[in-house]
């Protein structure tokens, strides 16, 4: 009885806190902050989506996907190609006032399309590689980024005759949408990602994923259809990466395969998720906030050293911080637990004595 009221109180507290953060984030564009801060928030939210969706699959199953950049890039290209069609076919027919709302709604559709394309691609890749041993999956996903980017480059040069594309409004040459639009859509994707990650952790699918990570053969013997669970969860995580890429395209403005499929988009989510720790949902979020912010700072101050530093941090985390920051908490609690619980119990005992 005592414990249930405690957990439900704690649940309300956490839910209230999250709601407060969400309201704060949703009202940020209204405070008239310099656009630098909105851009920084967009980057942080984007990396949070990538890190959380990476940890959603690779955390519990233990299958190391090295391809977040591939799905992110596929999302970017989905928007870019669809916008190319929209800009030549539909936009010239519209009156000047009608263009912006149409583009905004188009972007919402493009995010869904980006998610769908990434989902389908991951489904196909998963069907080929995830029925094999994990090492084949790692090898395949590692090269996937280069493969897709070379393929798109080839198709662009030989079929469309371009190396890169530019996302601007036809005629005026302005950005296709405001920073605020990108921000709100990105925030929407974040909420969807977090809700999905939360519910997957508590669902049968989540339990099945954890049992695969623990002992795959054992899971199969217990009646888990391991291939289906792996393929489905891999595809779900890829869908969010694709969605984030789809809405990042208008921010990048100039898009070519080298930009869309930059290997850093694979590296950063892995670093963030491992640093924050994958044992808890908030682990990758903490990691993403820390590293998205430091990357932004280091990129301008020490552009030549920051990837060196991040690479070393990743190695150190794997060696000395296996559970990430989140994994540190129980250890800290154990070490400090004695004195704290003594204090707490002492306080309680005094209360009893007083009453």
């Amino acid at each position: 009885m005592d414990t249930t009221t405690f957990t439900s109180k704690r649940f309300l507290l956490v839910a209230g806190l999250l709601l407060l953060i969400l309201i704060l984030l949703a009202t940020v564009p209204l405070y008239g902050l310099p656009s630098y801060y909105i851009l920084l928030l967009i980057t942080i939210i984007m990396f949070t989506i990538l890190a959380v969706s990476w940890a959603m699959f690779s955390g519990p199953t233990g299958y190391m996907s090295l391809a977040p950049a591939a799905f992110f890039g596929v999302g970017i290209y989905t928007t870019t190609i669809l916008y190319g069609i929209l800009a030549t076919k539909t936009l010239p027919l519209l009156s000047a006032d009608a263009i912006q709302p149409v583009v905004n709604w188009f972007l919402v559709g493009a995010v869904a399309a980006g998610a769908l394309v990434s989902f389908t691609l991951a489904l196909l890749i998963g069907l080929v590689t995830l029925r094999l041993k994990g090492i084949y999956f790692a090898i395949f996903t590692f090269g996937l980024v280069v493969f897709i980017s070379e393929l798109i480059l080839f198709l662009e040069i030989h079929i469309t005759g371009t190396r890169g594309r530019i996302l601007i409004l036809p005629g005026t040459g302005d950005l296709i949408c405001s920073t605020t639009t990108v921000y709100y859509i990105m925030l929407g994707i974040l909420v969807a990602t977090l809700l999905t990650a939360y519910f997957i952790r508590r669902s049968r699918l989540g339990l099945a994923m954890q049992s695969i990570g623990g002992n795959e053969e054992g899971a199969a013997h217990m009646g888990v259809n391991t291939t289906r669970v792996k393929v489905l969860s891999f595809a779900i995580s890829a869908a969010f990466m694709g969605a984030a890429g789809a809405i990042m395209a208008p921010r990048l403005i100039y898009i070519d395969p080298g930009i869309a499929f930059n290997l850093n988009y694979s590296f950063m989510p892995v670093l963030m998720a491992l640093f924050g720790g994958m044992g808890q949902l908030y682990g990758p979020i903490i990691g993403a906030v820390i590293f998205a912010y430091t990357q932004r700072t280091l990129m301008t101050e020490f552009p030549r050293y920051y990837m060196l530093t991040f690479g070393i941090i990743l190695i150190l985390v794997i060696l000395y911080l296996p559970g990430g920051l989140v994994g540190l908490l129980p250890k800290l609690r154990n070490r400090l637990g004695g004195p704290i619980s003594k204090l707490w119990k002492g306080g309680k005992a005094e209360q009893h004595a007083n009453t």
Binding site: I139, F140, G143, L151, M307
Partner: protein, 291 residues
């Protein structure tokens, strides 16, 4: 027609020899040390840029400079294994956990090594000229440096193969590959043998980089493509099989030359990936793999 086929085969052998050498190094690192070294290509890049500097600055003949770059890369990799991978291995709860963690460490190493190389050599693309004269054969001219590269690659691959199969240390290596725990009981110093294999893999990568540097453009980002090629070759040959990597290297080389000569050079990675995909669907254990 026959001339084209001959050209494809010769060109395929020329690139295939290097691929075989690269893949043997990676195969040794994965087959014995159980580290899927995603940073393998970065050691190739280091070998190539070291050769460049030794030749252009110190005037050391590229083929002789292996006496400097080879041991240097061997020591770097040996120490990396003794520090990073050995402590990962002893602490890992299961072999699978070690494979996953070492994969991620190697992934991090890519960025560390690439960035360090950019700091030393800058991101500029470099070339140097060595043995750059044509030798005509069957109507086509091949540059001498490519032929020398193939000869050295084959010699090194064979020497390495006999080292692993015939020497006493090679026996220890194979024993460690089959069953590290039992090999340890039989008096093989496991940690040293594993680090040795990792170092030897880097040595082979350095040698391959040296040979590549004689005829291709160099910059700190060239490594990634070679890593991917090496990964595909070792899957083709069967993970961990050394003769498999040797033959797989030549197969990929010839397929690459078909695509480059009859199709488009920019499609070669796409073609390798196509083979990889078919292989995973049809015979995931590779041509020489067991099971």
């Amino acid at each position: 027609m026959t001339e084209t086929i001959l050209r494809i085969v010769i060109y395929g052998l020329l690139t295939g020899g290097i691929y075989a050498l690269i893949a043997m190094g990676l195969s040794l690192q994965y087959g014995v040390a159980r580290v899927l070294n995603l940073a393998h290509g970065e050691f190739i890049m280091l070998g190539a840029l070291l050769t460049y500097t030794l030749y252009t600055v110190f005037g050391i003949n590229p083929l002789v400079s292996v006496a400097i770059s080879g041991p240097l890369l061997f020591i770097i990799a040996f120490l990396l294994h003794r520090t990073l991978f050995t402590s990962l291995r002893t602490r890992a709860p299961s072999p699978a956990a070690f494979e996953g963690n070492s994969l991620l460490v190697a992934f991090g190493l890519i960025f560390v090594i690439q960035n360090a190389a950019t700091l030393i050599w800058t991101a500029n693309t470099r070339v140097y000229s060595y043995l750059n004269f044509g030798i005509e054969f069957a109507g086509t001219t091949y540059t001498a440096n490519r032929i020398v590269a193939l000869a050295v690659a084959i010699a090194a691959a064979l020497a390495f193969y006999f080292f692993v199969t015939r020497s006493r240390l090679g026996k220890g290596i194979r024993a460690a590959a089959q069953d590290p725990a039992t090999a340890g009981l039989m008096g093989v110093n496991i940690n040293r043998v594993l680090a040795l294999c990792f170092g030897l893999g880097a040595f082979l990568a350095g040698l391959a980089g040296l040979l590549l540097s004689m005829y291709s453009a160099l910059n700190p980002t060239i490594g990634l493509n070679y890593t991917i090629i090496a990964l595909i070759v070792i899957v083709l040959g069967g993970l961990g099989s050394i003769p498999g990597s040797l033959i797989g290297g030549f197969i990929i080389g010839i397929i690459g030359s078909i695509v480059i000569i009859l199709g488009d050079p920019s499609l070669s990675v796409v073609a390798y990936y196509g083979i990889f995909l078919v292989l995973l669907l049809v015979r995931p254990a590779g041509i020489f793999g067991k099971r």
